[in-house]
């Protein structure tokens, strides 16, 4: 009975998280469009609702009601599976991301996370890797040349950056002595892990850009070369899930993990602790700032060529991540 109660409770909580993420992602699209608009000296969406505020809902309706074309000679099973494979793992990472310490309202203890696993970070990495299959499946199943090249490019990029990302995350784990994201935040009471792990942070920023396919690394859908990359043959909501998963949910979740690992999670900014701001708001402010940083990079830079990206992954990012492990190890020996 107790188990059933926990299950129902968790199911409801997961549903709230998923719905929240959906709505959040929808409004992240608006945020990105507004941001891009102002970067490019234009107002962005303006006409649906007050100041374009209902634009994401209009977009969602449009995408959902579009005709869902499936080309004749695609591999139907993989074709359908691909868009889900890209989307579901991205949102599953949320299962291990904590948004704050447990707190009590009206006598009920509420944990602002779904589960506090002791291998949380590993699970997040694993889910991140699965979503790559979505892209590769999409490229392969489309049975068309441009998607195939796009999918293969993405695979080449991700193999390099997954390795670097794994090594870069080792630094904070070593300092916290735990894989649990909540414990990592708690370990940063005195000092954020950015201090000795600055190299790892640089690597992680590059990896997030590469994993989410944002501009210096958006080779998999370079529209000038590959038309639409791996999404060329997709339409309707199947198409909509890809950018939603990659550009918004993945970017958001990876920003959240980066904040947890390097910027003390929900701890207030230094010298601003006296402000009456609740913990989870601090967390969201930091995630928001990091997300904006990624947008800023996306809308400013040109893109690399795919071989230059992989070259950078193996020749620059991997050594940097390894150097970071060394630095952290020395740090731990000296400061304990």
């Amino acid at each position: 009975m107790d188990l059933l109660g926990t299950a129902i409770f968790l199911a409801i909580k997961s549903l709230i998280f998923i719905m929240g993420m959906f709505l959040g992602a929808a409004y992240l699209t608006l945020l990105e469009r507004k941001f891009a608009g102002h970067v490019q000296q234009r107002p962005g969406p303006l006409h649906v609702g007050p100041h374009g505020f209902l634009q994401p809902i209009a977009d969602a309706l449009k995408v959902l009601t579009k005709e869902d074309l499936v080309p004749d000679n695609v591999d139907k099973v993989l074709f359908y599976l691909a868009s889900l494979m890209a989307f579901v793992p991205a949102i599953m990472i949320l299962a291990v991301v904590p948004f704050g310490e447990p707190f009590t309202i009206f006598g009920i203890e509420i944990q602002p996370y779904i589960s506090d696993l002791n291998v949380g970070l590993l699970l997040a990495l694993a889910f991140g890797s699965i979503s790559i299959y979505g892209v590769i499946f999409a490229g392969w199943a489309s049975n068309s040349k441009y998607p195939m090249i796009g999918g293969l490019r993405k695979a080449a990029v991700l193999i390099g950056y997954e390795v670097a990302l794994g090594f870069a995350l080792a630094g904070p784990i070593m300092m916290a002595g735990s894989f649990s994201l909540r414990e990592i935040v708690e370990a940063q009471q005195g000092m954020w892990f950015i201090i000795p792990n600055i190299l790892a942070f640089v690597v992680v920023v590059f990896c997030v850009l590469a994993e989410t396919g944002r501009t210096p690394f958006d080779v998999q859908e370079a529209e000038a070369e590959l038309v639409g990359g791996y999404v060329t043959e997709y339409t309707g909501m199947k198409f909509g899930l890809f950018p939603l998963a990659e550009w918004y949910i993945a970017t958001f979740v990876l920003s959240a993990i980066t904040v947890i690992l390097f910027f003390g999670g929900w701890q207030p900014l230094p010298l601003l602790g006296w402000l009456p701001i609740p913990e989870f708001l601090w967390f969201f402010i930091k995630v928001f700032l990091l997300f904006m940083f990624f947008l800023w990079v996306h809308w400013t830079l040109p893109r690399y060529r795919v071989d230059q990206i992989t070259e950078m992954a193996w020749k620059v990012m991997l050594p940097l991540a390894l150097a970071n492990i060394l630095i952290v190890a020395v740090w731990i020996i000296i400061f304990g």
Binding site: A36, V39, Q40, Q41, R42, K145, Y146, I149, R153, T215, P216, D218, V219, A222, E223, A224, E225, L226, V227, W299, T300, L301, P302, R303, Y304, R305, V306, D307, Q308
Partner: protein, 582 residues
């Protein structure tokens, strides 16, 4: 300014080839040689007399003469800055191919085969340039009917059985290639099992128009590349043979639609030189100013789309913001934004409206700052450098061999700028520098274009200063018998009305003769060869398009590079399909 081969050089040729026939005119000097000695003479010109730059090759059809077709080679001596034309009759409808001397002849010979049916002995890939394989006719022959040959029954695809069509259409058409034809060509290209043939275009965001590239790829590396042109071929040269000189001006707009004014100026200058019309001073300054504005406009569009191809979306919108201002200026002066048809034989269509100069001087004051903005984002950007530096290096030798002109030539260090070599309009009275590159890679082409925009701003400033003092001058020399009178004159005097009627109906009765004159377009040398037989329309009008020749080198540059480099290379060569296809 005399740009043709000197008498002394012709004499020295005559010493070696006694059979040649020299035709010397004010605007055109040609040497006629028989077919056997043609290659010998061209080699002599290239190697001994240093006429090493290939400008153009084309054919002329004389139906009553045997042999029927005449080939004309235009060559340029970059040291003495002189041109020469070599003519040769195509006996048995064939000429020796010169691709061993100049690689740039590859496409122009294919074009001649396509349009005239002249064969080229020794050409490695003599297939049609614009029309499809299997088409039997050669459209630029004088006996080809304007409406084409309709011999294929092709009912409307939307029409159901028993339905009466809403409009009266002709179910007989010129034959077209089918999908099966295309698949066959694709299958025939694959040499290895791990190759794929990527159809890059004709409708692809990276090609900036309807060019069709075939990449034979292994992995992402392009092994072999073919370019199929003709999707935008409208037969402009054929059209020109059937309308008067003035009527052809709007067609020049629609060739290089991004720099319409430059094309008009190049064409009108040629016609004016042929007719002996001298435009008033004010019109010359206006033309120069408009040309330079159009050059900035064109380069801005290039910068925007180039950055867009490389993924920097924001620059695209920044450049279009500035481009919009130029578009507004052009709209205010010419009345039309894109295809402005503003230049007329003998002047310009309208006087400058009041306040136009203020707007322009405000723009040129404002613009350099914006240019600096683009440069801060791009010029030293590491990603930008990584994508551009040492990619697509074009050597000086390539420039001469392929007949590359414009920015592509100048980025390789060849100071070939028509504005300086053969200044028309007011270019000899303005001060400007010709920026040159050192390496000849994509990055140099980028830098040269940016620098050219700065120079154009300087030229526009000088023009504005000059035009301020010419407020009440005449803008079109209507007193000349070849120049159409203004509307006001037509309504107020019977002589002007008769003249207007005559010119519009019978055209400008140009004196007999030949002329080749070119203008410096943003995309290279846009040359017009006009052969007049004393009628109101040209007997043969050949358009030497800069983009057409510049695009040829692409197939060489792309070999061994990836698809991602293809966009960069194509962007840096900057072709406009309206001009390559004509």
């Amino acid at each position: 300014m005399q740009l043709w081969i000197s008498q002394g050089e012709v004499e020295s040729i005559k010493g070696k080839f006694p059979d040649i026939l020299e035709e010397r005119g004010d605007n055109f000097t040609s040497i006629l040689i028989n077919k056997k000695q043609l290659i010998e003479l061209l080699t002599y010109l290239k190697e001994q007399l240093n006429y090493k730059m290939f400008i153009d090759f084309f054919c002329i059809d004389y139906p009553l003469h045997t042999p029927r077709f005449q080939g004309v080679y235009l060559l340029f001596n970059p040291e003495k800055k002189r041109r020469v034309a070599v003519k040769c009759w195509a006996e048995d409808n064939s000429l020796p191919s010169v691709i061993n001397l100049w690689k740039g002849a590859k496409w122009s010979e294919r074009e001649a085969w396509d349009m005239f049916g002249v064969r080229f002995e020794g050409h490695k890939n003599l297939v049609r340039m614009f029309l499809w394989e299997g088409y039997q006719y050669h459209p630029l022959r004088k006996d080809f009917p304007l409406e084409g040959y309709k011999d294929t029954y092709l009912p409307s695809l939307n029409l159901k059985e028993g339905e009466t069509p809403a409009h009266n259409y002709d179910p007989y058409h010129t034959p077209l290639p089918s999908m099966e034809d295309l698949e066959r060509t694709e299958k025939a290209r694959i040499k290895k099992k791990n190759q794929i043939v990527l159809n890059w275009g004709p409708l692809h965001p990276g090609t900036h128009g309807t060019i069709w590239f075939l990449f034979d790829m292994e992995g992402e590396v392009v092994q072999e590349c073919d370019i199929i042109l003709g999707q935008l071929h409208r037969g402009v040269e054929k059209i020109a043979e059937n309308i008067t000189y003035t009527q052809f001006i709007p067609y020049t707009d629609r060739m290089d639609y991004i720099s319409a004014l430059c094309s008009q100026v190049a064409y009108v200058n040629t016609v004016e030189k042929l007719l002996g019309v001298e435009p008033p001073e004010k019109a010359k300054w206006i033309r120069t100013m408009m040309c330079e504005l159009q050059r900035i406009n064109s380069h801005l569009l290039w910068l925007g789309t180039y950055a867009l191809d490389l993924g920097a979306l924001t620059i695209f919108l920044y450049t279009f913001r500035e481009r919009e201002k130029i578009m507004d200026i052009i709209e205010g002066i010419a009345g039309i934004r894109l295809n402005s048809t503003y230049i007329r034989i003998g002047g310009v269509a309208k006087d400058l409206p009041e306040g136009a100069l203020d707007v322009i001087s405000h723009f040129v004051k404002d613009f350099p700052e914006k240019l600096k903005e683009y440069e801060t984002i791009l010029t030293k950007n590491r990603v930008w450098l990584k994508r551009n530096v040492n990619l697509g290096v074009i050597t000086e030798e390539d420039v001469y061999s392929y007949g590359l002109t414009g920015v592509v030539a100048r980025a390789s260090g060849v100071p070939y700028d028509i504005r300086a070599i053969q200044p028309t309009d007011a270019y000899d009275k303005v001060d400007f520098e010709i920026p040159l590159g050192k390496v000849g890679d994509c990055y140099d082409r980028y830098l040269v274009r940016i620098e050219e925009m700065k120079q154009s701003v300087e030229i526009v400033k000088q023009c504005v200063n000059k035009l301020k003092d010419m407020k009440d001058d005449k803008y079109i020399s209507t007193e000349n018998p070849y120049v159409l009178p203004t509307l006001e004159e037509v309504f107020n005097s019977i002589e002007a009305m008769v003249k207007d009627f005559n010119l519009r109906i019978y055209g400008e009765q140009a004196p007999e003769g030949e002329i080749y004159l070119s203008g410096e377009n943003p995309r290279g040398e846009l040359g017009f060869y006009i052969n007049s037989k004393g009628e109101g329309k040209p007997y043969r009008l050949r358009i030497r398009s800069g983009a057409f020749y510049n695009l040829q080198v692409f197939t060489e540059l792309i070999k061994g590079k990836t698809v991602a480099d293809a966009v960069v290379l194509l962007g840096s060569l900057d072709p406009v399909v309206g001009e390559t296809d004509r």
